[in-house]
């Protein structure tokens, strides 16, 4: 199936009974949904997989009612995934933020590869300490790379509120990660 076909057109095709559209949407959307869920849930893979399957299940059910031009599939999905993650965070409180990442000792990783992994783990750990809405806004803006108006549509808030949430979230991240500056390779 052509990669130029939009998510919306593929979803309409699936709603009309086209099985190849499901294959294209699955390969295109599953990694994005899974990655976002992983970051929202502090790196818990099993929970992120359940959220991904549930979000995609809702997408398949929505397909016959989807109307072209009303919304973007990605916006709709990010909203569903956000709500599923926040529900789980509130219900289970399963993210043990102290166990997300803390190296056994304070020595800096030696290889670039290890350093990149350590940095990613450190950020995920620091994100897990943010309030839910700040975490959601920061992930959508700075990792998923969405524009503020789309984030506002996903979170059902104003663009100004998105800017405020991301600014506060970044400030808290900078404060929480400052003590690990040397360990993460950002020392002088």
């Amino acid at each position: 199936m052509d990669g130029d076909i939009s998510d919306e057109a593929l979803l309409v095709a699936y709603g009309n009974g086209e099985p190849r559209a499901a294959m294209a949407l699955t390969t295109r959307l599953t990694p994005r949904v899974h990655g976002f869920a992983m970051r929202m849930l502090g790196g818990d893979r099993a929970e992120a997989e359940d959220v991904t399957q549930e979000a995609m299940l809702r997408l398949w059910k929505q397909a016959p009612h989807w109307r072209m031009g009303e919304a973007r599939v990605s916006t709709w999905l990010y909203r569903v995934v956000s709500n599923l993650c926040i529900d789980r965070l509130r219900k289970h409180r399963f993210v043990d933020i102290d166990s997300v990442e803390e190296p056994a000792d304070g020595r800096a990783p030696v290889s670039q590869r290890l350093m990149a992994e350590a940095r990613a783990r450190a950020l995920i750990g620091a994100l897990a300490r943010l309030p839910e809405r700040q975490r959601q806004a920061v992930i959508l803006r700075h990792i998923e790379g969405l524009a503020n108006p789309e984030i506002a549509a996903i979170m059902d808030i104003s663009v100004e509120a998105v800017e405020s949430l991301t600014a506060r979230g970044k400030r808290t991240l900078a404060q929480n990660l400052a003590p690990r500056r040397e360990e993460l390779g950002y020392g002088e």
Binding site: G15, L123, A178, L184
Partner: protein, 142 residues
């Protein structure tokens, strides 16, 4: 990297951490793809049934006629239009009097009933141009 505020990680470092998080994203396991695809197949809607080749809806022709009649202002206007068209055809055929050289070898001479230059009569190009009497007749008609 120069650090002005020890209590805050620099913005450049924070942006670098965001890049690292994007680059280090864990890909879904094949099992997850299988689960998602299995759901998609279980919930796949029935395909829309296409019309048989060459089949025409039984009410298509009456609908087309009605639409055409509406376009022209209804059946009464359509009947009037047909009558006017026939009348115009008859006038053009049977009343060549206003045309130049009528009955004397003009282009319409011999085509009406009871008129005719006779077999073997031929026309020149000038015969198809209106003469001065044709203009007089048009002025009289207003």
């Amino acid at each position: 990297m120069v650090n002005e505020n020890k209590d805050m990680l620099e913005d450049a470092a924070l942006q670098d951490l965001f890049r690292a998080a994007r680059a280090e994203a864990e890909m879904p396991r094949p099992e997850l793809y299988r689960r998602v695809l299995a759901d998609s197949q279980a919930l796949l809607p029935a395909p829309a049934r296409p019309a048989a080749p060459g089949a025409r809806r039984p009410d298509a022709l009456p609908r087309l006629r009605a639409g055409f009649a509406r376009l022209l202002g209804g059946w009464s206007l359509l009947a009037g239009l047909s009558a006017a068209m026939l009348a115009g055809l008859w006038i053009g055929y049977a009343h060549p009097g206003i045309l130049p050289h009528a009955g004397s070898g003009g282009p319409m001479a011999g085509t009406g009933p009871g008129m005719g230059p006779g077999v073997g009569h031929s026309f020149a190009l000038e015969d198809f141009q209106p003469g001065p009497d044709a203009f007089l007749l048009l002025l009289e008609d207003g």
